[in-house]
Symmetry: C2
Subunit: 164 residues, 2 copies
């Protein structure tokens, strides 16, 4: 019973509690020349654990019925969901079952905002990409966004006479 | 609804999930000359959050009906339970509702072992204190136990001809 039993289906409220502490909504903006604006927006939802608890990550994957369990870094593994269809399912779940900590609820709402903009193809316009970049910089714990530091963005922004 | 609502009672499985990620079972061994062996064993259960989520910590305090919410360090606050009566109630709860991660379940079981030894007054004997110190060193993430480094302990241990 309890720890390490991979057969048992996780309880909904346990998942919300665990993700409230350990989950991460993240939006990366990566340089990708083949994209029309030269940058790719990559939103993802992940839960990172030490590799000894890879079993729990597989249970989370089974619970949502989507995503992958893969190496994060060193001895850490992660459950990860990418792609608009998967992320919209994750969003639907956490809208039905809101977080209790304001920190997680806030980053979730910012994530929803980005996904909604992407659903509307706004990330393919300069204005939309700028807005997504400023939301992402606020969301991510270590706000190092190459997009915001790129000379192209700075030129564009100062040309428009508006800050981010 | 959701984040920041202090009126709402927390769900049992949410608490287990949140503590599975964010909770900490800790055993300190502090130098205290008035104790017969010169050391005090101080077990505690805590959940640390950024101060913006102090509300969640108060909800956890209300959920268990014991403990305090106090400053941890800098901008972090903690829910904390100490004392044998409180800790035995916490143990009873998590025995009924086991953790899903093996990491948390393991440190919980080690904590139970220490509390059981203290219930039996074993921490008042040199042999019991040595055993508690070795369990505590394994449990705590940063195993800096002054007790284990003290010349008194080293002398005692080498006198007995046994390692920790």
């Amino acid at each position: 019973m309890g720890a390490g039993n991979q057969q048992e289906r996780l309880d909904t409220n346990w998942v919300v509690g665990f993700v409230d502490g350990e989950g991460c909504f993240h939006v990366a903006i990566n340089k990708l020349p083949k994209m029309s604006l030269g940058w790719q927006v990559l939103p993802e939802f992940r839960v990172v654990q030490h590799q000894r608890d890879e079993g729990t990550l597989h249970q989370i994957r089974e619970f949502f019925g989507l995503g992958v369990v893969t190496r994060n870094h060193g001895d850490r593994m992660e459950f990860r969901a990418r792609g608009m269809e998967n992320l919209n399912k994750i969003i639907e779940f956490f809208k039905k079952h809101p977080f209790k900590t304001s920190a997680k609820q806030r980053s979730f709402e910012q994530f929803c905002q980005v996904i909604k903009m992407m659903d509307n193809k706004e990330h393919l316009t300069r204005e939309g990409l700028d807005k997504i970049a400023s939301i992402a910089a606020e969301m991510n714990r270590k706000p190092r966004l190459k997009y915001l530091e790129s000379s192209e963005t700075i030129r564009q922004t100062s040309h428009e006479g508006s800050g981010l």
